[in-house]
Symmetry: C2
Subunit: 326 residues, 2 copies
């Protein structure tokens, strides 16, 4: 094409404000540059942040993101998935979590759409997530290092099952290695008063103030940990004086002075990049075997953990905690 002609075409593009019709292109090419993102609760800062970095990573690879919230009723969730499949997304980033045998899982598997699980794992697709078991060990070792001996793992419904189990496994490993007895998982839903320990159902207060109550709690995630701190303080236990609490995720607010949560950090940005690139590889060649990437985690020591009461000087433990005094 001659330079002057070229120039005139370019001008016409400018003048008419022409934008190539991606719909038409996608239609004829039979493939889109849209990545579906299946989400749960965006008010959970962990997911909000992860969603953001996924969008950025996808954009960096030339893809746009179509979000769909799939928490709540199964049928709503399925129609959210159908909407994404109807729009023929090139692949799906699975960021929420659902029951193992759910209609959502079935619909996804049946559709055969390329998928990557982020922050959790599922055998039939690629996955990227933190080294949960290692994180569980790090958290527990930190508490053991502070001389805690009665340490409990507190499971909240806010963390996905595979991650939860691995974190608990890490806790057990660390306890056993230190010659301590692992307790059964404490199961607690933030906002409630009920605590389940193995088959026994008791109250949160009772579980925390019994003579043999744990002196340190490892919550399965930060939101749960923060809720747990609030619950402890409501029950009259000062953190970390009377009881230590450690979380998992290192969400932004964990760093606030007033929260100052000791926790296990995982690199969100890096995980999102990896997840999107795994997904794009699978889109390019759907036959490759599922790959499972685990990324390193790191302990962040802050103010919510300390030595158990018995290990301190009397004078110190007589004073009231800064946090309970309001």
């Amino acid at each position: 094409m001659s330079p002057p002609t070229r120039e005139r075409v370019l001008q016409a593009i400018q003048r008419l404000n022409y934008k190539p019709n991606a719909i038409a292109r996608q239609f004829v090419q039979q493939r889109t540059t849209i990545l579906g993102v299946l989400l749960g609760d965006l008010s959970n800062p962990y997911y909000a942040h992860m969603a953001q970095v996924v969008e950025r990573a996808a954009f960096g690879f030339g893809y746009t993101t179509m979000f769909s919230n799939i928490e709540g009723a199964e049928e709503m969730a399925v129609s959210g998935v159908d909407a994404l499949l109807g729009h023929r997304v090139a692949g799906i980033v699975f960021l929420a979590f659902v029951a193992r045998r759910s209609q959502v899982n079935d619909a996804l598997q049946r559709a055969g759409v390329p998928i990557v699980f982020l922050g959790l794992s599922e055998s039939w697709g690629d996955s990227v997530g933190p080294r949960d078991a290692e994180g569980g060990r790090l958290a527990t070792d930190h508490l053991i290092g502070l001389r805690h001996r009665r340490i409990a793992y507190v499971r909240t419904p806010l963390v996905e099952r595979t991650g939860d189990r691995s974190r608990f496994r890490g806790y057990r490993t660390a306890m056993l290695r230190a010659g301590l007895e692992p307790l059964p998982a404490f199961v607690w839903e933030p906002g409630t008063e009920r605590m389940r320990i193995a088959r026994r159902i008791t109250s949160l207060d009772a579980a925390l103030s019994a003579p043999d109550a744990p002196t340190a709690l490892f919550a399965s995630n930060d939101i749960g940990a923060i809720a747990l701190i609030e619950a402890c303080e409501l029950a009259g236990l000062a953190v970390p004086r009377d009881i230590s609490v450690i979380g998992f995720d290192d969400i932004t607010i964990a760093r606030l002075q007033r929260i100052s949560l000791t926790t296990i950090a995982q690199p969100l940005h890096f995980q999102a990049e990896r997840a999107v690139s795994l997904l794009l590889e699978r889109i390019a060649d759907p036959r490759i075997q599922p790959r499972h990437v685990r990324v390193p985690v790191a302990l962040k020591v802050r103010g919510s953990t300390g030595p158990p009461a018995g290990a301190r000087r009397r004078a110190r433990s007589a004073s009231t905690s800064a946090y309970t005094k309001r």
Copy 2:
């Protein structure tokens, strides 16, 4: 169609797992059921929550959402907008904020795409947002009611300009009505030490501990308010004993015991619904005049505000604040 034939067709749909190709439909109909959402920082819980409710509202109306983060470099932002326009989104929900005269604004206006501004306003499109000025008055009246007389409005870069100005206006109105002198806006960026007051640049510490320093601060939004509380306490001022802080938005973490932020609440869910329905009306008929919907706000009194030091009994003010003692 005869019932048995109908049955066989339905079965074939099941068997082949047929999903109508939305791309083809959108292509031929020359309109999509995708709403573009322009976002800023999703780690700001206010935006994350708003984004979530927008997605839910859109889904409820049969639309999917395509997200694009437009914070950062202008050219990145413009290509994010172009991606949405290229996908021929039916309309755009503008959730982030950019400079008034930005390339993003120009691109959007030039494209003539139906748009609704959420949480901010812009003359050339529909908008939905809180009654900012009323919120500013409510916040200021609350502080005045506690007997504060030196009250400052603290502007942070986290809130959009139109909202910020209206909140400040509300502050001024309340001060003048109470016969108090409004101070010029304090301009502060969380994480920094610099404070700008009118033309004067000073340090945060100096601004807060001068003899005529304000005894109460009204921050333009919650994230700013929480950062401000941290900064005050780092500077040795207890909240609310030495200084009161009120925010705006009522983000989820404001309710945490440890944060307990007094603030102005705005109904996010309702705003998202209204925004999406305005947008759909405009998509149906692009000629209607821009409408600007303002929704009610409400004061939430929590623990970050109290009477000024001078108005209390000596005994009380002699004790250390719960928060600074760590």
